[in-house]
C-alpha cells in the first residue's frame, strides 16, 4: 500500500509531466483557459494514459523484447497502438456510455498522440517498471496533469484580469506564469523520498 501511494505521488508531484518534465505542454497552454475545459481534458488524459500504459507494457515485454529483438521500433509501434486504442475506446464509449463520451467529447481524439501519453508509456519501459507500477505511474501522471491544469486555470483566470504590460499580453504572460508555477513544483523534489524513504 505504501509503495502504491509512493509511486502515484511521485508521478503526480515530484515528476509532474507538465511542470517538471515539460511534456504535454500544448493542451496545458491550449485548454487551460477555462476550468471546465481543463477538467474535461484532464479526465480524458488520465483515462487514456492508464489504458495506454496497460496495453503498451505487455506489447513491449512480450512482443518487442521477446524472442526476436526489435525494441528500436518502440516509438512507432506505441504510437500505432495508442492511436488505435483511443479510437476503439471512443467507439465503445459512444455505443455504451454516451454520457461519458459526451463529457470527454473532442478531447479524446485530440490526445491520441499527445507527447504526455507517449512519454508515460516510454518512460515506464526505460525506468524498468513492472506492470503494476507502470499502470500506477500512468495514473499518477494523469492526476499530476489534472492538478497542473486546475492550478494553472486558476492562475490564468487571475492573469486575464490583471493588466500586464502591453508587450506581455496574451501568450507571453501565460508562459511567464507557467514557468513560475513550474518552479513551485521543483520545490517538491526530495520531499517524497524523505517521507517514504
Amino acid at each position: 500500500m505504501k509503495t502504491v501511494i509512493f509511486v502515484i505521488l511521485t508521478a503526480a508531484i515530484t515528476n509532474n509531466y507538465v511542470l517538471v518534465k515539460f511534456l504535454g505542454i500544448c493542451p496545458f497552454l491550449g485548454v487551460s483557459k477555462k476550468l471546465d475545459q481543463a477538467t474535461g481534458m484532464s479526465i480524458a488524459v488520465i483515462f487514456v494514459e492508464v489504458m495506454a500504459a496497460a496495453v503498451t507494457w505487455p506489447i513491449y515485454h512480450k512482443l518487442l523484447d521477446g524472442g526476436i529483438n526489435f525494441t528500436y521500433m518502440e516509438t512507432t509501434v506505441f504510437i500505432l497502438v495508442i492511436a488505435a486504442l483511443v479510437q476503439l475506446v471512443e467507439i465503445i464509449l459512444k455505443k455504451y456510455i454516451p454520457t461519458l463520451h459526451k463529457a470527454l467529447g473532442v478531447y479524446l481524439p485530440l490526445i491520441t498522440t499527445n507527447c504526455g501519453v507517449l512519454g508515460v508509456t516510454m518512460n515506464n519501459i526505460t525506468d524498468g517498471f513492472n506492470f503494476r507500477d507502470s499502470v500506477l505511474t500512468a495514473l499518477g501522471c494523469g492526476l499530476g496533469f489534472f492538478l497542473a491544469m486546475v492550478i494553472f486555470s486558476g492562475v490564468r483566470s487571475r492573469v486575464e484580469e490583471a493588466r500586464p504590460p502591453k508587450s506581455f499580453e496574451g501568450l507571453p504572460i501565460t508562459l511567464v506564469s507557467a514557468s513560475i508555477v513550474s518552479l513551485s513544483f521543483f520545490g517538491f523534489a526530495g520531499v517524497l523520498t524523505k517521507i517514504f524513504g
Binding site: 526476436i68 526489435f70 521500433m73 509501434v77 500505432l80 488505435a84 476503439l88 465503445i92 459512444k94 455504451y96
Partner: protein, 273 residues
C-alpha cells in the same frame, strides 16, 4: 533477414488494429435518427437557447419526439418554423418574433456619476458596488455585458448606455439574460411604444437622479385611450395586449421616458436562410 521480421511484425500489428477498428465501428455503430441532420440543418445554429433547450442540437433532438412545438426558435422565426413543420409533417404555427429593448434612457446627459469605478470592466462586477457607477441604481451600467453576449453585434454603447439596433436584433434574448440589472426586456417586434425607464424610485428622486426617467406623473395613463398603461411602483408599464400603438402616451410624456417608434426586428427586413 533481421529486417524482415520487424517489417512484418509492425505491418501485422497495423493490420490487426485496422481490422479491429473497422469491425468495432461496424458492430457498435450508433444509429442516429436520419431526420436529425435534416432538422439540425434547418436551425440557425446560434445556440442561443431561446427555445428553452440546450442549444440547437438539444432542440433538434427534442423535435424528434412528437409533441415538441415547432415554433420555439425565435431567431429562426417563421421561415424555420415552416421548414420544421414541413419536415415533421405537422401544422406550422406562427412564431412571435421578438426584439430586445434597453429600458433605460439615462445617457450621460441625463445622469451623473456617483462614484469613480476602477474595477473589472464588466456590468456584473460594477454592479457589486452600489448598483453601478451611475446616479440611478436601476439603470443601464453601460459596460457592455449585453454587447459581449449578442451574437448579432446588434448592441452598441452610446453615451454611457447600451442601445439595441433593432434592425439587427434576432430576438434570441441572450442580452436580457446577460444583463445583471435586468433593464433589457424582450418584447414582440410589432410593438410601437415602450417606457425607457426601469426606476422604481419615487418621481422626485428619479428626476433628481436622471432627467430622462419616468416620474410616475400618470399623464400617459390618462392620455391612453385603450387603457393599456398603468403606473405601478412609480413606473409606467404598457400592456402589450391592449396597446394600439397610437403614440399619444409618448406625446404627453414630460420627461420623454416613453418612446413611440418602430421596433421591427431583423426578421421584418430579411428572410434568414
Amino acid at each position: 533477414m533481421s529486417i524482415i521480421v520487424p517489417i512484418v511484425a509492425v505491418t501485422v500489428i497495423g493490420l490487426i488494429c485496422a481490422v479491429g477498428l473497422s469491425v468495432a465501428s461496424a458492430v457498435m455503430a450508433v444509429k442516429e435518427d436520419e431526420r436529425f441532420p435534416a432538422i439540425r440543418e434547418c436551425l440557425p445554429g446560434a445556440n442561443c437557447g431561446a427555445c428553452g433547450f440546450s442549444g440547437c442540437d438539444g432542440y433538434a433532438k427534442a423535435l424528434l419526439k412528437p409533441g415538441t412545438k415547432t415554433n420555439l426558435c425565435v431567431p429562426g422565426a417563421d421561415t424555420v418554423a415552416a421548414k420544421l413543420s414541413k419536415l415533421l409533417g405537422v401544422e406550422a404555427e406562427d412564431v412571435v418574433e421578438q426584439v430586445a429593448c434597453v429600458r433605460c434612457g439615462g445617457t450621460c446627459e441625463h445622469t451623473q456619476p456617483k462614484e469613480e469605478y476602477h474595477g473589472i470592466r464588466t456590468c456584473a462586477a460594477a454592479r457589486l458596488f452600489f448598483s453601478g457607477s451611475g446616479s440611478c441604481a436601476y439603470g443601464c451600467i453601460g459596460m457592455g455585458d449585453c454587447a459581449a453576449a449578442c451574437p448579432q453585434n446588434a448592441i452598441y454603447m452610446e453615451k454611457g448606455i447600451a442601445v439595441v439596433d433593432t434592425k439587427s436584433c434576432i430576438g434570441c434574448g441572450l442580452c436580457a439574460k446577460a444583463c445583471p440589472q435586468g433593464v433589457i426586456a424582450m418584447m414582440p417586434d410589432t410593438s410601437k411604444t415602450e417606457v425607457l425607464c426601469s426606476s422604481h424610485d419615487p418621481g422626485a428622486l428619479t428626476h433628481r437622479l436622471c432627467t430622462a426617467g419616468c416620474i410616475a406623473c400618470r399623464k400617459c395613463e390618462k392620455a391612453c385611450e385603450s387603457g393599456a398603461i398603468t403606473v405601478t411602483g412609480n413606473l409606467a408599464r404598457i400592456d402589450r395586449a391592449k396597446c394600439t400603438g397610437c403614440g399619444k402616451c409618448a406625446e404627453v410624456c414630460t420627461t420623454g421616458a416613453i418612446t413611440a417608434r418602430d421596433f421591427s426586428g431583423a426578421h421584418r427586413f430579411e428572410t434568414p436562410a
